[in-house]
């Protein structure tokens, strides 16, 4: 037996000690259950995406991607993400500064409100904007008279995406900045730095990896959002179709290769996101706080 006073982590000891782990057959059974479950539910769907996309060869794959409507869907998805992610990034920074660096009444309530979009069905996230800006709404006739298009146009898609991805950056940054406290900022300020200098040269370097982590997750959701965008987009081919919506249209037209070709791009995005996320967690685990996953 090891000396109980020496607290060292010894994986060899862990494997050897039958008292604190399961018997070998039990471990094998647990591992088999976990692997089979993960293979069935995570690996197989991913394999299906690429298998179907390349079912008729690389050439068909490339032709189906090189299609006017597909290209405009890719472009729209990039535009929507390029607008909504920075908006939520700025909000995330502002909200986490206010919440993490100050003590004020109602802070817990504000934090709960920020998480609100996570508990709203994506369809409802789209519906609320239809009710606000639609032809039947109080604003509808005014918007129509002035030729302002929000629904079934890019602004509506951006709004729905912003709603759905609203908490991502703030959620990463708030616990991280709370953990870091205010000592560094107070030191910088007392040495004569201005507020902005303190933010740029002290706070931002401290939170950069956590920020990147939040942006990564926010972007993945922004590019992949389906339900909310589907409600406000109007599904106009080549105009208000994002990539996930285009996948649906192609799939419903029984164009499996086309649908899975676009889907394979989105799956590729998901895989890149997972790889970057894992790298960030491995290298900067301490700097992106204890908030893994969601």
């Amino acid at each position: 037996m090891a000396d109980p006073h020496i607290e060292t982590y010894d994986p060899e000891h862990e494997v050897m000690s039958a008292a604190i782990t399961e018997s070998r057959p039990a471990r094998a059974v647990f591992m088999a259950i976990a692997f089979v479950f993960l293979a069935l539910f995570l690996v197989l769907p991913l394999v299906v995406v690429f298998n179907q996309a390349f079912a008729k060869g690389l050439e068909t794959y490339l032709t189906s991607l090189n299609d006017g409507d597909t290209l405009s869907a890719i472009k729209l998805t990039l535009i929507v993400a390029a607008i909504s992610v920075p908006l939520n990034l700025v909000f995330g920074l502002a909200a986490s500064w206010a919440i993490a660096k100050f003590e004020f009444k109602g802070k817990a309530f504000l934090t709960t409100l920020i998480d609100l979009p996570f508990s709203v069905s994506p369809v409802i996230s789209g519906l609320v904007y239809v009710l606000l800006f639609g032809a039947q709404s109080a604003l509808g006739p005014f918007l129509k008279a002035h030729g302002i298009e929000i629904l079934f146009a890019v602004p509506g898609i951006v709004l729905a995406t912003v709603f759905v991805t609203f908490p991502f950056v703030a959620r990463e940054l708030i616990p991280l900045m709370q953990e870091q406290g205010t000592g560094d900022e107070e030191a910088a300020l007392s040495l004569g730095a201005s507020g902005w200098q303190t933010f740029w040269y002290v706070t931002l370097p401290n939170i950069k990896w956590g920020l990147l982590y939040g942006v990564l997750l926010c972007n993945a959701r922004a590019m992949g959002e389906f339900g909310a965008v589907s409600v406000v987009s109007g599904h106009i081919r080549g105009q208000t179709n994002t990539m996930p919506l285009h996948v649906e249209i192609l799939y419903n037209e029984y164009n499996a290769v086309g649908a899975f070709a676009v889907a394979s791009l989105l799956a590729g995005l998901a895989l890149v996101t997972l790889v970057l996320k894992t790298v960030l967690e491995m290298r900067y685990g301490a700097e992106i706080a204890a908030t893994r996953g969601h």
Partner: protein, 283 residues
């Protein structure tokens, strides 16, 4: 306002040398109000404008009730399945050493990263009557795609990381000495797990269940492809909202959405209660 707060003992905020409170809080509140609060209260206002009788007539409509029942029922089953397998996955990831553990761990987040529409068409192809898994299951007489079982499958996929990521950190925190003490006192491994470890994991498991359930109830993208969408049989509530919207029946869409929102806020409230209870008890 600021005068009044300094005169009395009540302070809106503690004094601090750090600048930017007004700017950042002001911006955050304005943005939150514009993006989230005004649109959501618009929904509340529109459903209130329906009037009590009309609201309940729509909400208790047979097709609506079936849709809500299917959404909540399938989400409940999927969350229960995820509790069992998600906890096993979390346990295996934390406790066992095996090659590629890091990759398996990263894969668990796939449902967070993969767009729901992609998951939807992939699962449908997999479980369709001529699909890789659908064909053998069909031979056994089990129809997965285009039936409520298909919805459950999609929701298991969507909800898995919620359970694993909630339970995993708690397993990591377990003090090995507790297990050693139990073993020293003569407990079998089975007794240690069920009597010593399980009670400590329970709050996290329940939270993971609630999160997976809440997400499953509102899920749309991955479900509509695999469900078959037969009214009263495999039509989920979010889809019925979309259908009512396409019929320009805004009253019905609003009423269904209001019922769903009320139920999910209730769940959110329960989750918060559970978390504060478990922090008090085990934190």
């Amino acid at each position: 306002m600021s005068n009044a707060t300094t005169r009395t003992g009540w302070r809106f905020r503690q004094p601090s040398v750090i600048p930017g409170f007004g700017l950042t809080l002001g911006f955050s509140l304005a943005y939150l109000t514009l993006i989230i609060l005004i649109p959501l209260s618009g929904l509340a206002w529109r459903s209130a404008a329906l009037g009590w009788a009309d609201f309940w007539r729509i909400a208790l409509d047979r097709r609506t009730l079936h849709a809500l029942e299917i959404s909540f029922g399938t989400a409940l089953i999927a969350a229960a399945v995820n509790v069992v397998f998600g906890t096993i996955v979390a346990w295996v990831l934390v406790r066992y050493q095996f090659p590629g553990r890091r990759i398996v761990d990263a894969m668990v987040d796939l449902p967070f990263a993969l767009p729901t529409a992609v998951a939807g068409i992939a699962l449908t192809t997999l479980y369709a009557p001529n699909g890789w898994l659908g064909k053998p299951l069909m031979a056994l007489g089990i129809k997965v795609a285009y039936s409520p079982l298909g919805i459950v499958m999609a929701l298991i996929f969507i909800g898995l990381p919620f359970v694993v990521r909630t339970v995993q950190p708690i397993i990591e925190e377990i003090d090995k000495e507790v297990e050693e003490a139990a073993a020293t006192l003569g407990a079998s491994r089975f007794q240690t797990i069920t009597r010593v470890l399980a009670p400590g994991l329970l709050p996290a498991v329940v939270t993971g269940f609630a999160l997976a359930f809440a997400r499953g109830v509102g899920e749309y993208g991955s479900v509509i492809f695999i469900a078959g969408n037969l009214p009263n049989v495999s039509e989920i509530a979010p889809l019925l909202i979309v259908i009512r919207l396409e019929e320009y029946n805004y009253a019905a869409a609003t009423a269904i959405a209001a019922v769903m929102l009320a139920l999910s806020f209730l769940m959110l409230f329960v989750i918060n209660l559970l978390q504060s209870w478990s922090r008090k008890r085990y934190g």
